[in-house]
């Protein structure tokens, strides 16, 4: 293994300064993905800057009633937080659907957002991959892709984003805060992850040298009635092949408000705005839910082996919205 340096940062300016002085450095959160990638040789940082001791581990209400979640809050603490569970239950469920207890105890919110795809070509240095080695090609297009993207992909990359947490954050319009040497900044999650295009190796819009400091969830009454459902190839400890974060407000049989986001279908958590537009103001019925899913999935472009994801995602929309509707009536 290649030798690397290790430094621990104790405040945000210090962490940002360390990275500024060492461009080949990486911030280290829980290390649950970065260390694996280092072992595989995909990441070869000269320096790790440990940010787990930064004072960013709180969850608190914002002045308008939203929630601000610190970047170093562990996945376990986030899922267990009573206000998260009360106001954004789909977020707690999404986090608990991921990884294992041990990994969630280590993994941080900031690191979860920045985790890399689990595409088997990306993690294998012996194979081409445009995300890892730009211009080398994408063997998944004609090779193994049964768990690859059906939405928003390109001929350069069909990898999916692995995070469950980010799917719920996308549904709830999370805003990601960061710090750079030039000062703080913010990115709505819709802009945080970049479209794939011909630059699959550039995954986020974070400026160079930025440190994620936290995630803000705006107040959203509809989120209190939300659910995350994940489908995977075994009962636990596997990435999604399809997932959905859904929130629903139904009154008198009419959809007043709805949030929908899909996981495992794109290079980023996929906010289903087309489906939401179809639903709002319309009937709260299984037919309407199916039609809304179809509206979103119209843009799907399946490869030979991943077309089932269209059916799966559609079925999840109908099933979860129907469940939420029935619970609202009870």
């Amino acid at each position: 293994m290649r030798e690397f340096g290790y430094e621990r940062a104790f405040d945000v300016p210090g962490a940002v300064a360390l990275l500024g002085a060492a461009p080949e450095a990486r911030f280290l959160g829980g290390g649950t993905n970065l260390i694996d990638l280092m072992k595989a040789g995909v990441e070869r940082p000269a320096l790790l800057i440990d940010v787990r001791e930064l004072p960013l581990d709180g969850v608190e209400f914002t002045h308008d009633g939203g929630l601000r979640i610190g970047a170093t809050v562990t996945n376990s603490d986030l899922a267990a937080h009573p206000e998260v569970r009360r106001h954004y239950p789909a977020l707690a469920q999404a986090v608990l659907a991921g990884a294992s207890g041990q990994l969630r105890n280590m993994a941080t919110v900031g690191g979860n957002l920045l985790q890399r795809t689990r595409c088997g070509y990306f993690t294998d240095l012996s194979k081409p991959c445009n995300k890892r080695a730009p211009g080398s090609g994408c063997p998944a297009l004609t090779g193994e892709h049964h768990n690859h993207a059906i939405l928003g992909a390109s001929e350069h990359c069909v990898a999916t984003h692995p995070s469950d947490m980010a799917v719920a954050l996308a549904a709830f319009d999370a805003v990601i805060s960061y710090e750079t040497a030039d000062g703080p900044g913010e990115l709505p999650i819709a802009e945080f992850y970049r479209p794939v295009g011909d630059t699959p190796h550039i995954e986020t819009s974070l400026p160079p040298g930025a440190l994620i400091t936290g995630v803000t969830l705006p107040p959203a009454p509809v989120a209190a009635h939300s659910r995350y459902r994940k489908v995977r190839e075994r009962a636990s400890y596997a990435f999604a092949i399809g997932s959905i974060a859904a929130a629903l407000d139904v009154q008198d049989g009419v959809v007043r408000d709805v949030r929908l986001a899909f996981g495992a279908v794109a290079s980023r958590p996929w906010r289903a705005r087309a489906a939401e537009r179809v639903l709002i103001g319309g009937p709260a019925s299984a037919e309407a839910y199916a039609a809304a899913a179809d509206a979103e999935l119209e843009a799907a472009e399946a490869l030979p082996e991943n077309g089932y994801k269209v059916t799966l995602t559609r079925n999840l929309v109908v099933a979860v919205l129907t469940e939420l509707t029935e619970e609202a009536i009870r």
Partner: protein, 729 residues
Amino acid sequence: MTPPTTPTTPATTTGISAVTGAIGSAHTRVEGRDKVTGAARYAGEIPFAELAHGWLVLSTVARGRIRSVEDSPVLAMPGVLTVLHHGNAPRVDTDYVGMVGRPNPVLGIFQHDRVPFVGWPVALVVAETSEQAREAAEALVVRYDEEPHDVAFFAGRSDAYTPESNPMVQAETEKGDVEAQLDASAVVVDEEYTTPEEHHNPMEPHAATARWDGGRLDVIDSNQGSTWVATELAMLFSLDPASVRVRSEHVGGGFGSKGLSPHQVAAVMATTILHRPVRVVLTRRQMFSLVGFRSPTAQRMRLGADADGRLRAFDHQALSLTSTVHEFVESSAVLGRVMYDADAHRTFHRLVRLDVPTPAWMRAPGEAPGSFALESALDELAEKCGMDPIALRARNEPETGPVSGLPFSSRNVLACFEEGARRFGWAERDPRPGLRREGRWLLGTGTAAATYPSGAGPSTAAVTAEQDGSFTVRINAADIGTGARTAMVLVAADALKVGPDRIRVRLADSDLGPAMFAGGSMGTRSWAWAVTIAADELREKLALGGGIPPEGITARSNTTEAIGALAKKERHSFGAQFAEVAVDVTTGEVRVRRLLGIYAAGTIVNPLTARSQLIGGMTWGLSMALHEEAIRDQESGSHVGADLAGYHFAAHADVPLIEADWVDDPVPDDPIAIKGIGEIGVVGVAAAIANAVWHATGVRHRDLPIRPDRVLRAADEARRRATEGAPSA
């Protein structure tokens, strides 16, 4: 009616073995405390002074020649001691016949420039530390002249051929006219089944340390048989067998993968050149190409029966793959030669040679994939005949071996079904598919038969009466996590008629003398036989009276003649598997709710570890049904996701209520009456689960694993067919 979700009776052992002796009563592992406290050392963690570390470099092309190994820059890296490759490595001799036949040519590492698959060893980098060796190995540039490769396995390949029969596998058997009997059959099942490439991944990766000690080669290893490994190393390196010692005290799982592999050969080469101990440990990824795997299979089953279910025609055709350098047959079609008779009966194997590593034994080789096809087809036949699947099997229960005509030493498969059916609640089962729903889940149940041969291999043992009243048993057995050490304590205790606390067992050291390896479900039977004979003889010696000298009194045994004298019979373990599943056809998720396996496997030595081993086997079967599958990238010829993140097997949440138990299974003519239980737990489980998925959904799944995308596609197709086939209004 919904089957009960809890067992109808508590898990009690109905089996045999009057529990007056040690055999048949539950004992925790004698080395259990050492293992859970970390005192037990495994091969990769035993310290040696001056230890150097080797790291294997594997080919990245699937076919071609090595043009150059650019070792100069690597030799200059920190800590690097040497780089071995085909240009400088010691010669070895692979022209021999060992305990399991001719050696796999992959053992002849660094002997030539040809590359027959991705993952072929092309160099060994040795350095002062493991980290230095790894960094240098990753920096080593190897250039190849690449040639086109072919790794595509599928049914109907025109280049499939019939392998030569060998002592391990008879390629073909045939009696009667299958086509004529199929024509005369009232009911015919003719279907194809596939199973994917599967890999054994014992928790402990393969590791070996080699050194020269007083003119002898000393290897600290993790293997399934030290006699096996020592003998092969002696032949490979042209050494006097007495000058090779191999030890393997604790082993964290084997499953057929831990015989001789390239890493032991590499360690011996390196220690010979460097004159210091050298350790080579495999990584998880390296294990995917270096220690064998289960070939994918494509199997065609043709069954023809009278309307009452009596088989007229039985035809099992099994295709598997092998490498271009060595032949291995996944013997999927052998179990029909034991299980069911028919007027015309044919079983055969075909192979296709591809640019991939040579497959090997993986727990229940042959029977595991073969039983998926055979026991699924039986279920389909039961459906077509309108018969209960257990009744169909009872109707076709043979008197003697369907192919051999030999009598069975004991055959209690129907007793297994009877006991299993009672405990599972099978009598209340409505055979019609697709009727039971619980929320979003469709529920179903299924069953399948299991069988595995019960063989024995020649072994020697020594039992010593010590002055202090204790006894030392020396048997070169391997405890690969099964509890073999404890089993030998119990066997010796009963044979000597003393308490287990007076027995000390030494095993896993080739200096103890030749013995069978832990494989083919033959270990316990083979070793117990040798220990019993030696113990009996020792009791006779002790009966003569007189004092015990300081060196003790020792009796020795060799079972070669006793095994040779055993009457020729069909000797097998049997079992019945039961599964209940829940399927959500809108997401494709399949969840196993409970498994029950009832076995007839002779004398059960230690119920505690036996149950554990059987449940482990059943969990393998569950994984095989729903999860396991190595994906080969056609373009590169290598795997995608060759690690435990990419290669899925059951997680705890997938493993539901599992029960394993056994029925009485005396073996009257057998001096030892112990059969094997290492593999039978796997056999039939995938079929029982697939049959339960059909019962839940009405859809047959003939390709493993039963992944969500397959369930979704099948459900879509079934819906479409139903719509198209529906009579117009």
